[in-house]
């Protein structure tokens, strides 16, 4: 028995914390300085959300050139990795601020964004959220937190409205759908919103069954068999990339092609989905916040992305991450100072009409939410993404019904 009892001393504190202390010895929060604005970008670039976090990062990478061409001031980007983890997100937000970040952007995920928002609010450093759907974030009365992305209720409402727009264009609509959704923060939030909103919106279809599945699912054969057994006309799905690929493969293997796949959420339009599944990736429609391909800025983004990352389609991840930086640069230009209060005030009075996402542009309401964003509808066709609704943003007609998976050899 060897219970070597205690005793701490200064040296061991040093052992652990010295290196940390050394590197942050100069907290240098030099406010109201000139030069580029220091923007801390927090994204989940390792851990289980690494794929989407690194995709968002592409929107950051193409930003400098475009901001410059718009005549906006330079940004110094400081990258922070949340490691797909709430506590790390908080820690690294603190770190970026103590390293001199004057504005934060992030963080794709609702939990991580919430954690960062609290730090931003305490420190009085503006946070512009690029992507995160949980409504609660902008319901806390924060003064320094802004979100240029729809909340879950907005996503759901627009998802239904744009579906109806598409049904009108093609003159057809499913009578029943099977609702497949991932059982995570996003999927459950959306399910609640669907239940609350669907009765009010007079949708042409009813939900035959709701099938929720594990976000870490390795296999969705049972789920698809169960969905097929409902004999629904279409699949209404709220999911992510991993499950989108699994479901599509099972549909092909189980020889079931519904009239349509109506997705409200990520996964089905993502690059990885199209690349991996090839011909099988054609057909699904996504009702999501999207960019208006007819806007000038969208064309610039497409060109910049094509140059930096050939073969990758521009998507929500890039556009909304870029727009967060656009908001930052625009606010900095108008504020003319890096003082966080002035900066926050400038963000609050943002009014950018020439943006990329669908809708009248970027502005924030009293809660810091851009409530003017309009959802879009896109369809995968021949490895490309065609915008099919709303009318003003459309660059193609929807294809209905989906081509059978069996005939795609």
């Amino acid at each position: 028995m060897n219970s070597t009892d205690m005793l701490p001393n200064r040296r061991h504190l040093l052992a652990g914390a010295a290196a940390t202390a050394a590197t942050v010895a100069a907290p240098a929060i030099l406010r109201a300085q000139s030069g580029p604005l220091k923007v801390g970008v927090l994204l989940p670039r390792s851990g289980y959300e690494a794929g989407i976090g690194q995709d968002c990062q592409r929107g950051v990478d193409i930003a400098p050139g475009i901001l410059k061409s718009l005549g906006l001031p330079d940004l110094t980007i400081m990258n922070g990795d949340t490691e797909s983890n709430v506590d790390t997100a908080r820690e690294h937000a603190e770190k970026l601020i103590s390293d001199g970040a004057q504005l934060l952007v992030g963080a794709f995920d609702s939990g991580q964004s919430t954690a960062i928002a609290q730090v931003a609010e305490q420190k009085g450093i503006p946070l512009v959220i690029n992507i995160a759907g949980a409504a609660a974030i902008t319901e806390q009365g924060y003064k320094f937190v802004f979100r240029n992305f729809p909340t879950a209720p907005m996503l759901t409402r627009d998802g239904f409205l744009q579906q109806k727009a598409v049904f009108d264009i093609v003159g057809k609509a499913p009578k029943t759908v099977v609702f497949m959704r991932v059982n995570d923060t996003f999927g459950t939030g959306m399910s609640t919103a669907v239940a609350a909103m669907m009765p009010k919106l007079n949708m042409p279809y009813t939900i035959a069954d709701e099938i929720s599945y594990d976000p870490a699912a390795r296999d969705l054969s049972v789920e698809v068999t169960k969905a097929k057994a409902t004999n629904a006309d279409a699949i209404f799905v709220v999911g992510r990339l991993n499950d989108a690929m699994l479901i599509t493969r099972e549909l092909a293997k189980q020889r079931w092609t519904p009239q349509a796949i109506l997705s409200v959420g990520p996964g089905w339009y993502e690059d990885q989905y199209i690349k991996t599944l090839g011909k099988l990736s054609d057909g699904p429609m996504s009702f999501v916040p999207w960019y208006d391909p007819n806007k000038k800025l969208s064309k610039a983004l497409e060109a910049a992305l094509a140059k930096a990352y050939p073969g990758i389609n521009l998507s929500t991840n890039h556009v909304y991450t870029f727009e967060a930086l656009l908001v930052a640069a625009d606010a900095y230009k108008r504020a003319g100072s890096t003082d966080p209060k002035a900066l926050a005030e400038a963000v609050r009075t943002t009014n950018i009409a020439d943006n990329a996402s669908i809708g009248p542009g970027i502005s924030f309401n009293a809660k810091g939410q851009n409530d003017k964003i309009i959802g879009g509808a896109i369809q995968n066709r021949g490895g490309k993404l065609i915008t099919i609704a709303p009318k003003e943003a459309a660059n193609g007609q929807p294809e209905w019904p989906m081509k059978s998976y069996q005939d795609r050899a």
């Binding site: 690929m245 092909a252 991996t276």
Partner: protein, 290 residues
């Protein structure tokens, strides 16, 4: 829902379970003989999966053909790992082993992330979407091939342990460590060999796994846990036990998904695990522990 649906789900569950069983087989060998709590098991499998993916995308080598070569590569990897790093830990307490393999797992996951990026990689064989229609049942072709390979590998391994001299020596080590030393067996070498065999199984499993699922750097931990559940359910150190455990878990999850909420189906797998631990701690096909 008609009978057809139940049949389809049951068949899919059994086939998936067999492949999971193959994955767990490697752990059963390592954990059952060497007694190392290999919490980097799923991560080792993802290495094999990436090898299969790279061979396919660069040289168009079919995973079914590459099964043996990849298993051989993993055999060497396993041997080196055991001889070089893990061996001194065999006599150390479990928590110490645990820390070692957790550190190893962290390194593997993040090295894969840096080398291959975060996106899912996949093997796109010409038969990837084939399925056989047998009456009302639709059988996924890739899954059927993978399941068949699982059975073949298990039988081969079973025969090895039963009939070869080295196999018998390894079993002797597992039964009685001190006894094996006393009769002059080179225990260290046998352990390295066993670990290598376990790694080879993992290699075979990973290769087959690419036929039915994508690989990402982060998928390791999930499979590690699944492997432990299956091995303990089936019976530690029992080759057929791993397959039986795999099938039981696969079938349970499939039927639970059909009858209840699919997102909660893993609860049933853990439920089975708890019941087995309490009422048959040696596992379904394991020998009674003394």
């Amino acid at each position: 829902m008609g009978l057809g649906v139940y049949l389809n789900v049951a068949v899919a569950g059994v086939l998936t379970g067999l492949v999971y069983g193959l994955m767990a087989l490697g752990l059963s060998v390592i954990f059952g003989v060497v007694r190392v709590v290999n919490f980097a098991h799923g991560e080792m499998m993802s290495i094999a999966m990436y090898i299969a993916v790279v061979l396919f995308s660069s040289f168009h080598l079919d995973p079914l053909v590459m099964l043996v070569p990849i298993a051989a590569v993993m055999f060497v990897f396993g041997y080196a790992l055991q001889a070089g790093l893990i061996n001194p830990f065999i006599t150390r307490p479990e928590h110490s082993q645990f820390l070692l393999v957790v550190a190893l797992a962290i390194i593997i996951v993040n090295a894969l992330l840096i080398i291959f990026g975060p996106d899912a990689r996949t093997v796109q064989t010409s038969y990837a979407y084939d399925s056989f229609e047998i009456g009302p049942v639709i059988v996924d072709a890739s899954k059927a091939y993978a399941a068949a390979a699982a059975i073949v590998v298990t039988v081969a391994l079973f025969a090895f342990f039963r009939f070869t001299l080295i196999g018998k020596a390894i079993r002797a080590c597992a039964d009685n460590y001190t006894g094996a030393l006393v009769v002059g067996l080179n225990v260290n070498r046998l352990y390295a060999l066993t670990f290598a065999l376990g790694a080879a199984c993992v290699g075979a499993a990973g290769t087959m796994m690419t036929l039915i699922t994508d690989v990402t750097p982060a998928l390791g931990p999930g499979y590690t846990l699944l492997a432990f559940v299956i091995v303990i359910t089936g019976g530690l150190g029992s080759m057929p036990g791993a397959l039986v455990g795999g099938v039981l878990i696969g079938l349970t999850e499939a039927l639970a998904g059909l009858l209840f909420t699919p997102s909660a189906k893993s609860m049933f797998a853990f439920g089975i695990l708890v019941l087995v631990l309490l009422f048959r701690p040696q596992g379904i096909l394991g020998r009674r522990l003394t």
